[in-house]
Symmetry: C2
Subunit: 144 residues, 2 copies
Amino acid sequence: MTITRFSDLALRLLMYLGSRAEPMQATVTVREVAELFNVPYTHLVKVAHQLGQQGFLITTKGVGGGLRLARPADSIRLGDILRITEPSDAVIDCVTQPCPLAGACLLKGALDSAYAAFLDTLDRYTLAEVARTPRLQKLVSIKA
Amino acid sequence: MTITRFSDLALRLLMYLGSRAEPMQATVTVREVAELFNVPYTHLVKVAHQLGQQGFLITTKGVGGGLRLARPADSIRLGDILRITEPSDAVIDCVTQPCPLAGACLLKGALDSAYAAFLDTLDRYTLAEVARTPRLQKLVSIKA
């Protein structure tokens, strides 16, 4: 079971922003993050756009513009990020894969409970906590 | 975040077997289950093969042959099924998508904990419990 590539990029982008000395002041460019994580620039633009719309980051244009966190990193819970980046809260596809049990399925209920436990566990971690990853701090200090 | 189609089929197949009156005695054919759930026969053959190898079901050939549960449905926990059908216990791809943080990433640890909580929650449900889905019981009684 994997999260989408979109969620993956969202987490990496927010981690990078959160790891910076003044994440709500200093800006970084999408290109800088794309190069650092070796991910496609165009994908990251879409991710940044959605995270901006959902109030996780602020985008400014022009010289010196870029991305910065819209809220303190210790107020952003990991579960909240995935709640907006994952396309669905269903871990099994009962819609496009028709099933005679749809609507009365106890398996679906079990999987829904399990996914809720997954998100609840992620809510115990803030962006600030995971952004303290030692190697990330090192990369940031080299770039600074 | 979704489970793989392989896991999906494995769960549906085992649910169907577990819903039958004598799941360790009476056999069903892969074709019967494929038609019931409207899934490709060839995919289901592969799923049945792996579930057989892992001790969840027994396959017999010839006239009157088919599939049956290898163990009582109330001894099979849903988490145990996904532990063998999911290709990985990592919900984020740090290997084929290289990342400068790989090996020292606190995000990976958070996601691993969350996935463990997902499986732990599924372990609270047995196959016997989800196989009591009302509509499934109805389908089985019509087919019987």
